[in-house]
Amino acid sequence: MPIGPEKKAAQRDLFRGALEMMILQSLRRQPMHGYALVQHIRQRSNDLLQVEEGSLYPALQRMLKEELVKAEWEISATNRRVRTYKISARGLKHLERELSSFERMLTAINLVLSPAKG
């Protein structure tokens, strides 16, 4: 399927905030490298979220730049050289803020969408 530039851009924008939250939330549990992150998000969402694997990396770079996460090269359990991401103090704070505002929004949307009471 040919993907026009507009469609691609829309997709990226839609997932931007959400993807960041999911990544930070996953990293709060435990530090992970990129591949593991993808697997983790996929499993936790019961394969409902078909994230394009590669789109993880621009997001990770962005968060590195904003110092929400830190990265270090390590040797994995499978004896592979991997770059492991950890959430930073600043990342934690950012995640809290984002989550609460996301939840507020979700509640609001729910209120609007739920059948009217009386």
């Binding site: 990129g34 394009e52 770079q61």
Partner: protein, 874 residues
Amino acid sequence: MSWFGQLISRRRMYADLSEEIQQHLEEKVEALMAEGMSRADAVQTARREFGNVALLEERSREVWGWPTIESLCADVSFALRQFRKSPGFTITAVLILALGVGVNSAIFSLVHHILLEPLPFPHPERLYAVWASSDAQGDSRIAASGPDFLDYNDQNRSFSNIAEMISSFTFTWTGEGEPKLVNCSSASEGLFSMLGIRPYLGRLYEPREYTYLNNDTIVVSYRFWKNQLGSDPHVVGRVIHFEDDTQTIVGVLPPMPDLFPDTDVWPKLVVRPSWSFMQWRGNKFLSVIGRVKAGITPAMAEQDLTGILRRAAGEPPDVRVRLVPLKDDLVGNVHVQLEIIMAAVALVLLVACVNVAALLLARSVKRSAEMALRVSLGAGHRRLMQQLIVEGLGLSVAACSLGILAGHFGLRLIGYLPAWRLPRVEGLHLDAAALLATAAVAIATTLFFSWVPSMTFWKLNLSSVLRRERAGGGRFQGRFFSWLVIAEIACAVVLSVSAGLLLRSFWRVQHVNPGFRPESMLTVYLRTNYYSPGGRGFWRDVLDGVAALPGVRSAALADCTPGKGAASATLLFDDRPNDPNHLPPAQGCWTSQDFFRTSGTPLIQGRFFTEADNADSPPVVIVNAETARRYWPGQNPIGKRIGVNYTGPGRTSTAAPRMREVVGIVAGIKQGTLDSPTEPAIYMPYLQDETSHDMATMSLFVRSASDPRTLANSVRTRIHAISPNQPVGDLRTMQDLMGQSLAPRRYSLLLLGAFAVLAVLLAALGTYGIVSYAASQRMQEFGVRMALGASRYSLMSHVIRNGLALTTIGAIVGASLALLANRALSQLLFQVSPLDAVSFSSAAVLLALTSIGACLPAAWRASHVDPVRALRNE
């Protein structure tokens, strides 16, 4: 992390990123293989699920950088690589644009400088030259006499300041080496203050100095101070000798390139008291310049002065005063020439831009495969556009830089063409506005035609483009290219027709019979201080001395110069009533006995002057054929009697003219430029001059047996032997002089011709490029046709016919435009109709031949296509 740290660790970071992504893919492949997939399938699946690696990597990198700047740098280096890879395209495009920009900015600067830039005086819009005009006298540019000016000065209510001046006469400068003629302009009190001119050194004249006639102080021009006085900083107080007068330099004027730049010294012009020749109402030779008061319109001022002039005695009842903006008056009539040249040069720019547009479009079609590939690899629209625009900018920047250089040197070159005598050329420089405007056109064209193709790349489908690369193009492009060819040819036709008309006019002018033989003829302007019959001895000595020189056939004196100018006179007849307000005009000239023999002018009837026509004999006159035709139609003028009112400058008597007998009729001498009509003219022996004016200045004419230039030195020596203090200025051949009068025509022809050649060449190049391109797109078709039995000849003629069809449309469009354009040109034409069939048809033939020539290479390739290879590509 500081941005500086980022800058250093950037490379490291990018390496990490690439490795990380690589690891990710490998881990995924291993996982997939563990699920039982083959390696090849696993690699493919991993890649598909990961997404566009290159694009995602780039996007990740963008997070760190200044993406615009970085991608810009990449684009610039890519563009440079592209230019290096196709030097033919690059050089052609850059040169064509540079030429367009250079020529245009130079000519626009010239025109702007001469025609548009205001005079460098305060409130230049309120400065006017004052002229009178009278339809009854057929003269729209009547100068003022001394009394006219005094009336204006005393009675006007519209001017805050008004001054009179004599703008070009000469003084003899003696006492320092060989005597020299210096150019003088003389102005009455008020001119310098009116124009806000302050002295460069010393002071200007004081009001006290305008109250007496004696010239004891002098103000010199910057040019004279620099060139003749060696920029002497202590020049104030220096004594120099003009006209046997001793004068003290009191000041040096600043450079004034706009106001009579040839002037060496500026003697004062005293109005009260005044010289006697300034006191006659009819002696109209003064220029008047005024500054109108704020709030007064030119029309009001004209009405004011017209009323004043009409109150004076002896003025024609229909006399009117006209105000001409001072700038227009100083610039004169070059504006027609300049405007036409400007239009021509704009057409050249148009052709250049069309050419570059065609080049860019053809190239973009050639690159459609590359572009389709880049689109399918994930290049964004903006990104692709950015790259194309960077390439376009690169081209235009290179072209504009070259163009600025070309314009700068072109302008220098124009400044070095002194014979053109353009006004205000001093201080000519490349004008920033002109340059910006032209560069903007060039850049806009390049960018637009770089950008247009990027709109179509989106619709490209990689596989189809790669498969049918050769068949690309499409109908839209084909039609668009055709329009480009038509536009180019039309512009080239307009320019060629115009150049052809000018060329034919020039040829006609050159073959005008001037009424004298300019070859083997030498002339020199002699200015003396003899204002009385005492000068006759000097003139006789000069005539006798020069005529006796070896190699001299004959010598003569006259106060007019054929091909250059003559004074004006009015005629009185004794066989009819004379209306003093409508005296018929004629050119008047005082000559020595051998004038017509020396000039080689044929006698039609009667006789030439003889030795017997001297001061003591009854006065005689010789008229030209035009005088006879106009004033004695159907009669024999020989023996008729006329009086000649000599109205030229310097007349020193107001007595009624004597009646003279017409003794001869000569052929018409062109007294003005060759392209002006032959006017009635009358010639009189200078020994019978009752006004004495001619004693001061005469031109000497020498007819030589061989090359006249070899005589120059002996003539000069002989005159100095007679009078050591006599300045002998420019000894010139008459042919030189005639050439100079043709100079404006020659330069407009040269420039327009050069532009026409340029346009034709560019049109040829454009046609060649577009036809070749179109043919190359159809090579398979030609191969098929050939395989089906088409002959080489029919293929060739097919290609040429296509080219010629476009040329024909272009020529028709161009010819129609030329018909419109030539109305403007008609002022520069001479005995050639603006509809001249020869010019039109030769332009059409020229363009047809050019376009056939331009189509030939493509036609040749088309007819020699190898059908087997062409079909294999299918």
